[in-house]
Amino acid sequence: MARYGMALDYKNCINCKACEVACKEENGVELGAEKHRIWVGGNNPEGQWPLLDIASAAFLPSQCQHCDDAPCEEVCPTHATYYDENGVVRVNADKCILCSYCMNACPYDARYVDDRTMTVDKCTFCSDTRLARGETTTACQNTCPTKVRTFGDLDDPESEISELLRTREHFSLKSHLGTNPKLFYLT
């Protein structure tokens, strides 16, 4: 068993959305503007042309944080949301009754409704596709042109991600909430 996480060298991100497309093709995600498991946040630069603040225009890739203490899991009345053996937060579509408690509980707004199944969907770290086939990559990580993403086993001290987290400074989003995300942003 592994404890999967992802480190994001977010300064590399060019907001190209290769990750989003790869995710959709890999996992058969529904098309549509609001239907995506991963996205890239960003801001328009502040200021007036031509004096725009470059630093204010950063891009921040995001998705389900696979919290170690996941509020979504806590509130789910049917236990549709669960931690799998690799620490990945998953949703069992058969159990999901679309009460949308988890959507409200998630501080990262990581969940959406799949109109085809009428259940909640979100990033799974490709658990039922790539990982189930024995691959150890996610579709988004694999395809990214500027190699923003490093996916791997946090419990394995030899893994690339462990090495990165040991040697590079990083932060997690909304860490004050105590959700203990397994997405790490490298600075």
Partner: protein
């Protein structure tokens, strides 16, 4: 940093621009999961849903080369039960190093696009109205040869033109099977009138560098430490490997990046400094950098002494022209002190690169701009070495001998008017088209053979291109989608997409050279055929009848064959190349194998078949370093330095001066940026989720970018009462379009921007139709004077809210 990360905020915010308006298609999107998707469809080879979840079943992984843009990134197609369910990057190719961009990932949707051309068709309506009838391949070839009651066949045309092969024009966009089309129509059928994408693309860039440095080179961005990037937007117009290297080290991580762009782009967002340069004035910027460097004697004197030619004249001209930063500041909109700083920093850097750029010709002075960039780079001495512009090497592949016939009656090409270096092979789209249209060509051009090319979207002044195509007696199109241009074809031949065909093996030259092969992942869908099969079959059909016409009109052939027996004539026909079929006697697969085995042996072929990539010692050299990255060649085996003494820098070009081209890059006052009050300079560009007009119909990409907007300065928009999503009319001297507005501070008050490739007029591309505006309707058909390339950014427009 306060970047908004929540999905909801993200959708509400202005970054939602690219997804605003999506998406009609999600409503019709079918259920897709491992259980539900049994890939049912009419013939069992087309997935029943738009996105298909990959499964844990056995799958084949077939190496392919992406065909969406020019990069040809390598990948593996995951094929489950004969359906391509996913495209994954190929870690063995040093150029695309385990990446596929969003377009590459969405390539599946090209293949399974419901609007694809599926069968050969013959026009039964009027040109442009989309009325066709489905025919067999043989009927289609037959119609090309003999025509129908709606249009003439090539036989009749050539007979009427007395075997003047130049009456056939032809065009083809970039791609691996382009060469075969050039062989078919150019070398074998014998037409000299070829136009391709280069004269609407990067011709002056290549020309400027080749004339100055002998070659275009490649920027070694992995090892550079200072970068000026102007006229290129690598974050959004992705080019491998540059995009991959550039942004991993920007933002204070080793590669100081200076971006010049009239717009604030995603590339600008990665810059240390962004200069909002006035369109078309980059030349003044480079000249003033050069002035500072020469004046302050900051250049690499040893390098210049060793490799420079005509340096003194160059130096004197620049210095006496007084291209001071103060002078340039007024023209370029870049403060003088920034120009001083940039010039000095560049020369002080260890490995500085002024990025060569790509894509289209922006302004009339583009050739001189590129020359000035190349010479400025040379002043730093950072050429032909690690971290500089490098030249690399290519792994050799045998070339086929083409037995090209000589047609005595064929006239030469004519599109040379007003051009200093007319290209013999690819000509000038605009000059060629306009001369035919205006009756200035010395003979009639009566037919266009087209493949994988959409001049209605790519060549400025669409109205003229439509008229031009309407003048023809016969238009033939080989393509994948029913593009705007395809709608003007008389005979349409549907081509297999890049995932359905094995393409000619290709060699990629660079610091880490490799040979790559695209293999067919699945058999061609519907009745489509691979280009090479089409060339072969068309050649078979045309060979004898066209030969009969040559015999009738070509006196040389008559003299040669005088008194020959039919058998001898047949031998003559074959020996002299009049048999058009010989280049395709062997299928591509066989040709590839022969080429590779003859050069590199059986083992190399096996590796290429399995991995899609081969280079000597690949098994020893290729090392996976981490989940994302590999090493291809050990650093001491990379081809950083290949020119050595051969390297020459032509600071002046006296030979070109004889043709009226400035020998030293020079600024002329009519190059100045000027936009009449109340008007706007139109700037166009590309986007990461979108390349050319072909990708607008891609369901996945369309979902991300359904339409193009006009970027207009926020304050100007406010004054005119234009809000996000308002419809505005944009009008130039030659045409007008309607398009939705995107007010933003990311563009200057006197400029507007729109993405290229939208606004398709073909109703047969149902997803793209009616979305956005086609910039080619607005861009005036001006040419730059050195190559006759289309100038893309010198059109002023008016806008009005509707």
């Amino acid at each position: 940093m306060s970047v908004e990360v929540s999905r909801r905020k993200f959708l509400q915010g202005s970054v939602a621009l690219s997804v605003a308006g999506a998406s009609a298609i999600s409503a019709t999107n079918l259920f897709s999961s491992e259980h539900a998707s049994k890939h049912q469809s009419a013939n069992g080879r087309i997935p029943s849903t738009i996105t298909t979840k990959t499964s844990t079943k056995e799958a084949e992984n077939v190496p392919f080369l992406c065909g969406i843009c020019v990069n040809k990134c390598a990948g593996f197609a995951r094929v489950e039960d004969g359906i391509i369910t996913k495209l994954n990057p190929n870690p063995y190719f040093p150029k695309s190093r385990n990446m596929l961009c969003p377009r590459g990932n969405a390539g599946i949707q090209t293949l399974y696009d419901p609007d694809r051309l599926k069968y050969p068709m013959i026009r039964i309506g009027e040109r442009g109205d989309g009325k066709y009838k489905r025919v067999t391949w043989d009927e289609a070839y037959e119609a090309i040869l003999n025509g129908t009651n709606k249009f003439k066949g090539i036989k009749q045309i050539l007979d009427e033109e007395k075997d003047n092969r130049a009456t056939i024009g032809y065009c083809n966009g970039e791609g691996l099977s382009k060469e075969g089309f050039e062989v078919l129509v150019g070398e074998k059928i014998g037409s000299p009138n070829y136009v391709d994408e280069i004269s609407i693309c990067l011709e002056t860039t290549l020309g400027g560098y080749v004339n100055t440095l002998g070659t275009y080179g490649e920027a070694d961005l992995n090892n550079a430490d200072y970068l000026i990037i102007a006229g290129a937007n690598r974050a959004e117009a992705i080019i491998t490997p540059d995009t991959m290297d550039m942004f991993k080290r920007s933002k204070g991580r080793g590669l100081k990046t200076i971006v010049l762009d009239p717009r604030f782009t995603n590339t600008s967002a990665k810059a240390d400094r962004w200069y909002a340069v006035n369109p078309g004035t980059d030349l003044a910027f480079v000249l003033s950098l050069t002035y500072v460097v020469l004046k302050e004697e900051l250049y690499d004197k040893d390098f210049v002494a060793e490799h420079g030619i005509g340096f003194d004249e160059y130096k004197n001209t620049i210095l006496s022209s007084k291209y001071t930063p103060e002078w340039a500041a007024e023209i370029t909109n870049i403060p003088a002190k920034e120009i001083y700083k940039t010039a000095r920093e560049f020369m002080q850097a260890r490995s500085p690169i002024y990025y060569q750029g790509r894509r289209s010709v922006f302004s009339k002075n583009d050739f001189q701009l590129r020359r000035a960039m190349a010479t400025f780079q040379a002043l730093s001495g950072n050429l032909d070495k690690k971290g500089g512009l490098v030249y690399g090497e290519k792994l050799a592949l045998p070339k086929e001998d083409i037995n090209a016939p000589i047609y005595g009656q064929a006239q030469p090409r004519f599109d040379k008017e007003g051009i200093a270096i007319p290209s013999q092979k690819t000509g000038s789209w605009i000059v060629f088209r306009n001369m035919v249209l205006e009756g200035k060509a010395p003979y009639k051009v009566r037919s266009m053979f087209m493949r994988k090319h959409n001049p209605l979207a790519g060549v400025p002044n669409t109205k003229k291109t439509v008229q031009f195509l309407k003048m023809m007696d016969l238009n033939v199109m080989i393509d994948i989608l029913p593009s705007d241009t395809t709608m003007y074809a008389d005979v349409v031949l549907p081509e297999a997409s890049y995932l359905e065909r094995t393409s000619p093996v290709s060699s990629y030259g660079a610091t880490e050279p490799a040979i790559v092969q695209r293999k067919a992942s699945i058999a061609p869908l519907y009745e489509t055929k691979t280009p090479e099969v089409i060339y072969k079959e068309l050649a078979e059909k045309l060979s004898k009848p066209l030969w009969e016409i040559t015999k009738k009109y070509d006196e040389d052939v008559q003299d040669d064959t005088e008194g020959m027996s039919p058998k001898e004539i047949l031998a003559y026909y074959k020996e002299n190349g009049f048999d058009l079929t010989d280049p395709w006697e062997k299928p591509v697969e066989e040709q590839n194998k022969e080429k590779v085995v003859s050069m590199y042996g059986e083992k190399a072929w096996k590796i290429l078949e399995e991995r899609g990539v081969y280079y000597p010692h690949i098994e020893e050299y290729h090392k996976q370093l981490n989940p994302n990255e590999s090493e291809y060649y050990p650093d001491n085996k990379k081809k950083y330095t290949t020119q050595n003494d051969k390297l020459k820098v032509h600071f002046t070009l006296p030979n070109l001066a004889k043709k009226g081209v400035d020998a030293v890059p020079t600024w002329h006052d009519d190059y100045k940026f000027s936009v009449p009050e109340g008007q706007f300079r139109l700037v166009t560009g590309r986007h990461a989720q979108f390349t050319q007009s072909g990708t607008t119909n891609n369901a996945m990409l369309r979902d991300l970018i359904p339409t193009n907007y006009i970027w207009i300065n926020q304050r100007v928009a406010d004054k005119r009462g234009i809000k996000f999503g308002d419809k505005v009319e944009v009008k130039s001297n030659i045409g007008k379009v309607e398009i939705l507005a995107y007010p933003t501070e990311k563009i200057a008050p006197n400029q507007i921007f729109m993405l290229h490739g939208f606004g398709g007029s073909s109703e047969k591309m149902e997803m793209a139709y009616g979305m956005g505006a086609n910039d080619a309707l607005l861009i005036e058909d001006k040419i730059e004077p050195v190559y006759g390339a289309a100038v893309m950014h010198e059109t002023n427009v008016e806008i009005r809210k509707v």
